[in-house]
Amino acid sequence: MSILKVDQVAIGYSNALIIDDLSVSIPEKKITTIIGPNGCGKSTLLKAISRVLKTKSGAVYLDGRAIHQLQTKEVAKKMAILPQSAEAPAGLTVFELVSYGRFPHQSGFGSLKKEDYEYIYWALDVTGLMEFKDRSIEALSGGQRQRVWIAMALAQGTEILILDEPTTYLDLAHQLDILLLLQRLNEEEGRTIVMVLHDLNHASRFSDYMIAMKDGALMMEGTPEEVMTCLNLQSVFNIDASIATCPFSKNPICLSYQLFQKNK
């Protein structure tokens, strides 16, 4: 079952088309990761899926309905997004930021109700931020900050989470920490997660479904086993990869790689 369907979309900024005629389906209750070289349009695709960018033609369908025709607040009750390198305003506390996740469920001047508090505290609890809730966000480490944004998205209480490079700028342990959290949310709560990752091995280890892009086009999609092959990595990243099996997840990983020599 696909919950999000991208149908023949063209997306671009001003005159430059970045993606032309791309179609892809995002499976429900799975973790889907988009991979591809820099500038291949993966963030652009993610922005179109999350209605941040309007498509020039084609449409994105959420539960079978065109996303741009839905009330944006209704979409926000089903889908939460975490943009790339989101930065909180100075002086904001963890609790305050997470509480803004309740916006789509509030009306009027927006005072928090009991249900809102429940979601906020639950989100703080799941992300292990309860003890930091009154701290200023700028006083936290990079990994903690990313957790705060994820907590905000969780407080939104949506089935779908969309994350653009949630692990960028984090050290190895914190990267894994974030991904394990996302995995837990997927496995225990059945949330659909769509994200862009740069690290192929993380993508392979944590994804049920992978989408590989290059030059604004879809190159291949499928399970990590289907996508993470020598040949595919050659055509997408132009690398000569040595593929092994992850001792933890048994998924294929890229052990090491080298560039192809040109004009050989």
Binding site: I81, A86, P89, E96, Y100, K114
Partner: protein, 351 residues
């Protein structure tokens, strides 16, 4: 993983305590600020060339007797001036708060981003080509002028490669303000209207008449109500455009309404007091420091603190070197410039 219901029991008592911490501060500021503002207004009315006691101010306001000269002075000269100062301060402060929130630009201020210079330029044109234009039309040209200034600055700013950074906008604002200022002065010289324009450059409230207040009040009232209605949306925008969209906000609509409110507030203020800068820079930062980041509190508190700042600046301007008046623009710049340098040093990316 615990469910929302499970954690709810233990949080119940926590929320009762936490819920009110920041609003309490804001309410203190609002009430304390209003009291301080009223007191400063009274003090400012009593101070001047003719010595008037605070008690006389009281009776002149609440028990007016047209036969008494002090009452006449208070009613006809000092009250409009001081009330004008308060309104102008609130306008600049709220305009600055909205701009800072919507654009996440800590250096946003109607003076720094060319709105004030644009409005003043338009007023100079009005004086040159249509002398004696009634104030109710002047103020509308002032709104247009603020829009013109903002338009040019954003236009120039967005032409630069790499997009609009706070610093680029401020640079574009400085350049455009300098250009519009020079053009205004050129117009003043060519059409010999320097006398009429002088008080706008100086940035003084001494020329404020009841008619000004009457004309600008409905505009300002509407804009302030709009600002308060938008305040929650502005908080969301201050988290970043994409985050706001993700939370289901109609960002474009909010930005259009926010910008209109800013143009009305800045335009109205400039039409009375001239291109006074920095109020919109200082006050929102100060307010944020006191009441936190929620614009539902920042905007009402900025109304009060902005008014207070300009009333006090006007009072100071008259006390420094009596009987001459120091331009309040200069006085506020005295605090504003170091504050601007401090913010700029932090890299201008703290919002």
């Amino acid at each position: 993983m615990s469910t929302p219901a499970e954690v709810s029991a233990e949080i119940e008592k926590l929320t009762e305590i936490k819920k009110h911490s920041r609003p309490i501060m804001a309410i203190v500021i609002l009430f304390g600020g209003v009291v301080a503002l009223l007191f400063s207004i009274g003090l400012s009315i009593s101070f001047g060339a003719a010595d008037i006691k605070l008690a006389t101010v009281w009776t002149a306001v609440f028990n007016f007797n047209p036969d008494l000269t002090p009452h006449q002075i208070i009613r006809e000269i000092r009250m409009p001036r001081v009330l004008g100062a308060a309104m102008v301060g609130s306008c600049f402060a709220v305009a600055g708060a909205i701009m800072q929130g919507m654009t996440r630009n800590p250096l946003a201020d109607s003076g720094l981003l060319g709105l004030n210079a644009g409005a003043a330029f338009m007023l100079a044109l009005c004086f040159a080509f249509s002398p004696g234009l009634p104030y109710m039309f002047l103020i509308m040209y002032s709104f247009l002028g603020a829009g013109l200034g903002a338009g040019i600055v954003y236009g120039i700013g967005s032409m630069s490669r790499g997009g609009l950074t706070p610093m680029r906008l401020v640079l574009a604002g400085a350049a455009v303000s300098a250009l519009l200022g020079a053009l205004s002065e050129g117009i003043a010289l060519y059409f010999r209207i320097g006398q009429d324009l002088a008080f706008w450059y100086a940035g003084g409230v001494s020329g404020t008449k009841w008619i000004h207040l009457q004309v600008m009040s409905p505009w300002i009232l509407a804009a302030m109500i709009g600002a308060v209605i938008l305040s929650r949306s502005i908080t969301l925008l201050s988290l970043g455009n994409e985050v706001a969209i993700g939370l289901g906000q109609k960002t474009k609509t909010i930005k259009v309404f926010g910008m209109l409110i800013v143009l009305i507030l800045a335009g109205a203020a400039v039409s009375v007091v001239g291109a006074v800068g920095f109020v919109g820079l200082i006050v929102p930062h100060l307010t944020r420091l006191l009441v936190g980041h929620d614009y539902r509190w920042i905007i009402p508190c900025s109304i009060v603190i902005g008014g207070l700042l300009v009333v006090l600046a006007d009072l100071g301007a008259r006390m420094i070197n009596p009987p001459y008046e120091t331009p309040i623009g200069a006085l506020i710049a005295l605090i504003g410039v170091p504050f601007f340098l401090y913010l700029a040093r932090k890299g201008g990316k703290e919002l």
